[in-house]
């Protein structure tokens, strides 16, 4: 299959997100990328939406995964970096690929341990379906229909690349 052009999707994603925030009347959002791919996508969105550096954060969900008992701890936990308070902030949660929805569940669990945000908007670059939880992105770059057993991987940060394995 032909893979979509990532830079074009990022631009479209930034554009759609700006529209969405305007519709929802969200100002001064906090852009939070999920390690590792989500952080790269969040960086693109930050520069295209011209948000300041203090309007971003990083989430490492290793301590919140639900497959710890099967797969154990990820050997490279880097920790989360969020501002002092996320209380009453409008959070834009960014990930590269959404599949089962379990990463997003873990990410929301972790966010609530930092405080009570005003809202969470979910932004994903690619949606490859196969959902196992009732979680859907509010803004999505594109949908990819992969064959059974295929997975997509984002490489980066510069340039962003897509590979299918």
């Amino acid at each position: 299959m032909t893979l979509p052009n990532i830079e074009q999707i990022c631009q479209q994603l930034a554009h759609d997100l700006a529209d969405y925030l305007q519709q929802q009347n969200i100002h001064n959002p906090l852009l939070v990328g999920i390690r590792t791919g989500g952080v790269w996508v969040a960086e693109r969105l930050q520069s295209q939406l011209q948000l300041s550096d203090d309007a971003t954060g990083v989430l490492d969900i290793s301590f919140y995964r639900d497959d710890f008992t099967q797969h154990g701890l990820h050997p490279q936990v880097k920790g989360s970096e969020l501002p002092e308070s996320i209380e009453d902030r409008h959070i834009i949660l960014v990930d590269d690929v959404i599949m089962s929805g379990r990463t997003i569940r873990a990410a929301m669990h972790e966010l609530f341990d930092f405080g009570r945000p005003a809202s969470i908007t979910l932004v994903c670059l690619l949606d490859i379906g196969r959902r196992e939880l009732p979680i859907q992105p509010d803004v999505c770059g594109t949908r990819l229909d992969l064959a059974d057993g295929q997975l997509v991987k984002l490489g980066g940060p510069n340039p962003l690349t897509l590979t299918i394995a």
């Binding site: 301590f63 099967q70 936990v77 920790g79 341990d113 930092f114």
Partner: protein, 329 residues
């Protein structure tokens, strides 16, 4: 046949499943413990200090020897990982009624315990339990006889890394009763593996083990020579019970020769840090002005102790879980 503890504590693919000793562990694995602990420091600075990693797991603190600090930091570490923890004061319970150690452990295992944190006066106790008694329960050594106290050593490594930027290239002096110290032994192994430039031990000849050079540490018998150009000074607690068997003349004599005072600390580098595993005997091995002074990082060590224990507990549990999953497959 017994296997060396450094083998017993690893899964087939080299991950931690027990934590018995720092001896024989790779630099990569020790660094992984420190990196994971660093992440747990940040989770503890939040309003909600708990993470759900060990939710539903049962940890038993098995302390056959008294301890307040180590036991309470293990308890907090388990709670901040969302595990349930049971504190057993073994000396006062079943074993006092004549139950053997093995029976006690098998009973605890039958209660679906997932991890034992063990402190025992006999060297090799944690290793024995991990290998011979309850191999499917993760064992964390919280101090065994004169042998090892690996979580204390790792929290010291984390302290050095955070306050002196790195362990590589640093000159570290350990001062006091090295002979009876499981902490010193574990520190020396970890410091050598993590690339310290020089590890020195300073104390009276009666309190330095004869084989210390074989471990990779250089003995010194006076503070002036031993502390020269040090980046890190680790004071050990003088165990007062040792006074009785003529290894030391008196507390005041010890303080005069080896007690850390502002004057003696001046022999080390100006930015040297002062550490102590606690509890400190003020006026015996360390002067209050130094213990409470700007170069002291003693209370940071306590905070890092929780993070390091969270790291090894989650890593060992993870190793046990993945091994169990593979065996089922």
């Amino acid at each position: 046949m017994t296997t060396h503890p450094s083998q017993v504590q690893l899964t087939e693919d080299g991950r931690l499943k027990h934590f018995l000793t720092t001896e024989g562990l790779s630099k990569a694995l020790l660094t992984e413990i420190l990196d994971t602990a660093d992440s747990f420091i940040s989770t503890q600075e939040r309003g909600v200090k708990k993470v759900p990693l060990l939710r539903g797991k049962t940890v038993v603190n098995l302390f056959f020897e008294n301890s307040t600090r180590t036991r309470s930091t293990f308890e907090l570490a388990a709670k901040r990982l969302s595990a349930d923890i049971l504190n057993l004061d073994i000396a006062k319970s079943a074993t006092a009624k004549g139950e053997t150690l093995m029976d006690t452990l098998w009973n605890l295992e039958a209660m679906y315990s997932d991890m034992f944190v063990v402190r025992h006066a006999d060297s090799g106790a944690a290793h024995f339990i991990a290998e011979q008694v309850t191999p499917n329960v993760a064992i964390i050594n919280a101090g065994d006889g004169r042998h090892a106290h690996p979580t204390q050593a790792m929290l010291d490594m984390l302290t050095i890394r955070r306050h002196q930027h790195s362990i590589e290239g640093k000159v570290v002096a350990i001062v006091g009763d090295i002979l009876h110290s499981r902490v010193a032994r574990s520190q020396i192994h970890a410091l050598r593996t993590l690339g310290a430039a020089e590890v020195r031990v300073i104390g009276p000849g009666t309190l330095l083990p004869r084989d210390i050079e074989a471990l990779g540490a250089k003995p010194f018998y006076n503070m002036k020579d031993g502390l020269r150009d040090c980046d890190v000074v680790i004071m050990l607690r003088l165990q007062k019970e040792r006074m009785n068997n003529a290894l030391l003349p008196s507390e005041s004599e010890f303080f005069k020769l080896y007690g850390l005072t502002t004057e003696k600390l001046a022999f080390a580098k100006p930015n040297a840090i002062v550490m102590h595993p606690g509890p400190i005997n003020r006026g015996v091995e360390i002067e209050s002005a130094v213990a409470d002074g700007p170069q002291s990082v003693i209370l940071h060590q306590v905070s890092y102790g929780i993070a390091v224990r969270m790291a090894v507990m989650s890593m060992a549990m993870s190793g046990q879980q993945t091994q169990a999953t593979e065996e089922q497959a």
